[in-house]
Symmetry: C2
Subunit: 145 residues, 2 copies
């Protein structure tokens, strides 16, 4: 892979740019009855291509699924220039104060009126194992952590 000035690959830089610009990520989990499950999520923090953080409710179907099986995939796209990114990895369901404070922003207030102290809030930390970035010419760039 081509390396950029600071040592990161160009593919990783492009993936990060896309992930950061996309207001919506699509998250698939291993659901029930042998079927995958899938929903749109707003990414709250993106730590390089290492971890992507989300928030959800304790009682949500994804929390139930992820406690059984943390294997997951994230998809994000920039439909304007037909680029896309997929990340595979494992999700940890977290309920500690530090994680809640880390992802907290006032935009979450509608969902969690008690702020980062909301007891029903769960934090999902998606730890990336590998990923691909697909450019507008359909060329695929792979990266691994």
């Amino acid at each position: 892979m081509k390396k950029s000035v600071d040592g990161r690959s160009e593919a990783v830089e492009k993936a990060l740019k896309l992930l950061g610009a996309a207001k919506t990520h699509y998250l698939a989990t291993n659901g029930s009855h042998g079927h995958p499950n899938l929903r749109a999520m707003a990414p709250l923090k993106i730590d390089g291509v290492k971890s992507v953080w989300f928030a959800t409710y304790e009682g949500s179907s994804k929390v139930q699924e992820l406690l059984k099986d943390g294997n997951a995939v994230i998809y994000a796209e920039a439909s304007r220039d037909a680029t896309e990114c997929r990340l595979w990895g494992n999700i940890e369901v977290l309920s500690d104060d530090a994680s809640k404070k880390y992802v907290w922003s006032e935009e979450l207030r509608d969902h969690f009126p008690d702020g980062a102290d909301s007891p029903e809030m769960r934090v999902l930390r998606f730890d990336v194992s590998n990923g691909i970035y697909i450019d507008k010419n359909r060329e695929i760039f792979e990266f691994k952590n």
Copy 2:
């Protein structure tokens, strides 16, 4: 469920309207290494909430995954009014002439220059077993085939 004039439930009618309006559906499959896989797809035909049809290449990762395990989920959303729809079911990978002709439109010509006769073209028929429609108040409506 409330029934509409022609006997279909309101949830099904709303789901169909959303599915038809969404240019992009998100399709998750049971991928490799225990992880789900996920990508954006353009729906080509929508036969009620019974079948949704797509086209792809013989060599694509989704074809390889679906030949091993046809269990899948489709997600579509109308982000403008915060409604969404999920359909669970099974995908058949088809290569017969009738299926190719059924989904063919000139918009596919960029991908398949030989038209509906393109040997590398595969048709995915997603047969819906059940689904949910979520309205803007986050109320969930379920339906089954």
